[in-house]
Amino acid sequence: MATYILKTLLKALVVVLGVSLLVFVLTRSIGNPVNIMLPLGASMAERANLTHQLGLDKSVLAQLWDFASGVVRGNFGESWWQQESAMTVALRPLPFTLELSGIALVISLVFAIPLGILSALKPRSLLDKLTSTSSMFGICVPNFWLGLMLILIFSNLLHWFPTSGTGGWRYWVLPSVTLAVLPLGRITQIVRTAMLEQLRELYVVTARSKGLPEFWVVTRHALKNAGIQIVTMSGWELGRMIAGYAIAIESVFGLPGIGSLIVDAIGQQDYPLIQAITFVIAICIVVLNILIDLSYPLFNPRIKFK
């Protein structure tokens, strides 16, 4: 068990380092930020000054060392755009995105798990076909477009919800529902597949032969064994939400999350901020993966003993 935890943590560490390194390499490899930041008519002296200030006159290795030591301390320097510590700027909108993604995941799970189970219990029934179709649609519709369509129908036509921005609970409905659609589709599919697989196993018949109510057989026995796959997929989707889908949704609904921030940071070509945001998101994903990996022993006792 201890080795398992260690391995998990080690992998996480490597990922964080890898992503940070990647961003570092990318941002240093092309172009000279000095040229971007200064107006065309800037003098050589001004250029030299800024170059020195940004530490860009040091050798690459030296820059890497600065970067690495900064990363370890969580220091990415100052955001060029916002004149604040890049890390501070990056962390500020994070809770919002986490909250939005969390709500979306909960919505997904609330529907996906029962639907997936029911579909598995009655394969090829009408319910199953409907569920398969709608989960397929959920996966294929581009979420930003769906958001716009929902705004069209529910905001502009029906006036049930506001179009964008933040505020009371109404402001959360459309964004979180839109964000939830794709994970809902995927998780439903995985629940269905995993449950079908488990329901075919002999231990299910044994459980029934003991006289267990069907509900228990399905939830306590089959679902538990399907758990790993479901948790993995859910965690995966949560990670993809934070690091990807949320970007589009926040843009569509004008929400102040970390997704919006990175779009702006890229627009401003604010390298420190971009690095900081990438790092923060990478850490989030990594922590999420750690949590998922650590939850496996709950479902598969074999891991406890390795």
Binding site: K122, S209, G211, H221, F305
Partner: protein
């Protein structure tokens, strides 16, 4: 070797299956008649063997008793199953659940996969106990340990917290038996319990099953394709073929004097040390396709005594001797006797055994 309980005060059998028909609907709209008119009975504390090849319907018969077969494609098309004089077919699912695990339990073929890998062995036994009896968790745990001890698992107090994957196949099968017996069932159905195990373990499990009958007092329906197992452990035998019962007899009678041509063929096929034969004797042909059964007697295409009647009418079970039943025109001849297993059992119960 077999201890017959000669004091049969009750005349009614514990369980009797009468002309059971369990069919399965196929996707193309056809019907597979997995069990097509099977009749058998088992008395209290009796060990009954049910033999047949794969596809003979023996497992489905067992599953039908507890209604464990997959129910959208499968359904009971006819016949009756009486347990302690009550029809199981008319019971609601809730009533069936009370019977499962408590009055009638089952042990399955694959010990490697018939236990839930995510729960400890103790949990799974405890679950059965707490489901049917009003006891606390602690009491149930103690009882589980006792059951493990009963089935011969060493250090049961420790093993009760083990997971199935930590045990060998033989041990897991013992756990299954422990679980099945935990509520002292009146009938234990064992569906090929030793098929997936080594021969040496097989012997142990069979001994365990015999002990069970003595200690717990359950009747045992032992389903197998291995005639050797039958000879060693069973008191009476039912021979099934293609969804029907062909012969029922006491073990000694069956082995010494098989009546049905199929049974004769089976016994002839067993290689013997005291004879020299140039070739193994076989029963020609193969079992019929369940979706496409032959008319008349199911066995007639492979039988050397086939005549016109065999081809058109299926022979009913008749009793040429007390305690013996055969489904064959050679035996019933022109009698065309309608058999009623339950009534006839009453008649044979009072007669002495051969």
């Amino acid at each position: 070797m077999n201890q017959f309980n000669n004091n049969r005060e009750d005349v009614t059998p514990l369980l009797s299956v009468h002309e059971l028909k369990t069919y399965f609907r196929t996707e193309e709209g056809g019907v597979v008649k997995a069990v097509d008119g099977a009749s058998l009975h088992i008395r209290k504390k009796e060990i009954l063997g049910v033999v047949g090849e794969s596809g003979s319907g023996k497992s489905i018969t067992a599953m039908s008793i507890l209604r464990l077969f997959p129910s959208p494609p499968g359904y009971i098309a006819g016949g009756d199953i009486l347990f302690e004089n009550e029809s199981l077919l008319t019971k609601t699912p809730k009533e069936m659940r009370k019977i499962r695990g408590k009055d009638i339990s089952m042990v399955f073929q694959e010990p490697m996969s018939s236990l839930n890998p995510a729960y400890t062995v103790g949990y799974q036994i405890r679950e059965n106990i707490m489901l049917h009896q009003k006891v606390t968790k602690k009491e149930a745990l103690v009882h589980s340990v006792d059951m493990l001890r009963l089935v011969g698992i060493p250090s049961p107090e420790k093993k009760v917290h083990d997971y199935p994957f930590q045990m060998s196949g033989g041990m897991r099968q013992r756990v299954m038996v422990a679980m099945a017996l935990s509520c002292q069932p009146k009938l234990l159905i064992a569906d090929e319990p030793t098929t997936a195990l080594d021969v040496t373990i097989q012997a142990q499990i069979l001994r365990l099953i015999l002990d069970t009958r003595d200690k717990v007092g359950s009747a045992i329906m032992l389903i197998t394709h291995d005639l050797g197992v039958v000879a060693e452990v069973c008191e009476r035998v039912v021979v099934m073929y293609s969804g029907k019962v062909l012969e029922v007899a006491y073990v000694k009678d069956l082995f010494n004097n098989p009546t049905h041509p199929y049974t004769q063929g089976l016994l002839m096929a067993i290689p013997r040390l005291d004879e020299t034969r140039p070739r193994l004797s076989i029963i020609p042909g193969s079992i019929p396709n369940p979706a496409n059964m032959p008319n008349g007697c199911r066995f007639h295409p492979r039988c050397q005594y086939t005549d016109e009647r065999c081809r058109t009418e299926h022979p009913p079970l008749v009793s040429p001797k007390p305690g013996q039943w055969v489904s064959c025109w050679r035996v019933s001849g022109e009698k065309g006797v309608e058999s009623n297993v339950i009534a006839a059992t009453a008649a044979t119960a009072s007669t002495t055994k051969a």
